[in-house]
Amino acid sequence: MPVLLWRFRQYVVLGVCVVASVVLMAMGESRRVESARMVRSVVFYPFEKTLKLRDRYVGLERENRDLRLMVVRLVEANSRLRDAKAENERLRRMLGFRERGYRRVVPAEVIGWDESSVGLHLEVDQGSLSGVEVGHPAVSVDGLVGKVVEVNAYTSWLTTLLSPECAVSALDQRSRVRGIVGWRYPKGLELRHVAIGADVMEGDEIVSSGLGGVFPKGLRIGVVEEVEDRLGDLFRTIRLRPVADFDRLEEVAVLTGEVDAEAGQLLERARGLSARAADSLGVPSANGEETR
């Protein structure tokens, strides 16, 4: 028997590997798999962080210039938004709506990409030690990125909008028409379940609706690129262009479930800072300006 096994060892090794693979597939996402992933993330973490260091210091000058320009634009936008917020709060109070809380934000750096035809997943450098949990949404400066699907001590995996398992309840910001945003290869990002005749037009911005409780309301998702009504279909085919630039995504912010009590105070401080920045940059601030 041992002689026979040795003679056909390549088939024995193949059989063992195939059986082991099938068993692993059947195990799915068990505790043992989670533990193994945790070990891998701890082993890889220092190397992934080191590789990211190079990116951080290359192009700093250009980034600095871009950020200065952005500050000027943001100061201007901020002054307009302050007026809009004050107006919004006044109207909410008049209508008896409850005050919205601010979620705590955990900034995270993208340190790994798992991209294939079955979707894009991102590994970020914040984990359970920073308060990140499965289901927390992740955003970039442009808009919604995805949600956390796996958490290790120092790292987490996000499933992005460009994966079939990330579906978001959404609405058209202009017409308030609701639908579900989802991704499918090769069609890309779509707004689904929108009835024929519903008011959705090319160029409309699609934002999260807040239904379902995972994603907060109002996060930008994408812009309608193409609307098609096919004969015999019950729903419109609406293709979206995601607002987040997934090819260049370097940082994200994970919105945790906790409501941040300090966020209001921080916003007040930020307002003060932005007013000072506006003064120093010579940009008109909202203090002495009428709402446009």
Binding site: L14, S21, F47, L51, T159
Partner: protein, 179 residues
Amino acid sequence: MERRRAGSWKGRLAAILRLVALVLFVLLVQLTLIRRIRILGVGPDLALILVVYSALWAGAVGGTAAGFLVGLLQGLSSPVHFGSHALAKSIVGFGVGTLSPHVVRESLATQAAIIVGTQLVHDLIFLPLTMDTVGSAFVVLGAQTLPGAAYSAAVGCLIYRVFLKPIGMDLTSHGTSLL
């Protein structure tokens, strides 16, 4: 036919350790840096290239083991589809390792053809296991696998000439069998 002769235990252990280190390094590069060299959304599959060269060098047993190890670690480096990478890569590792003694392994054209064929077979196993419908798996096969395979072949041949051959993984000589 297993061409490689079993070496000493020290040699086998060194070969296994070298393989594990190489697998970890390749996966790290695949996770972090490979996005920078993508062309029109298509990039090379370094993990598959490693399996192909391991199988060409170490035969069916080494190729299957390398495929399983690479697939296992690739599954751990992704939040979805655990086990399917290991299954697909074990099978292609075995296939290439079995084919290895019967082809002119040192020819770059042969290596390129093997990488393209391996990528196709790999995705024929992997995609139906991971995608919603078989139809979409075939769409991916045409739109991503074929250009990806060509890219992987070019990168694989370059890695062999620039990196693997100088460090002694020369396909004109016999490799070290793991068993």
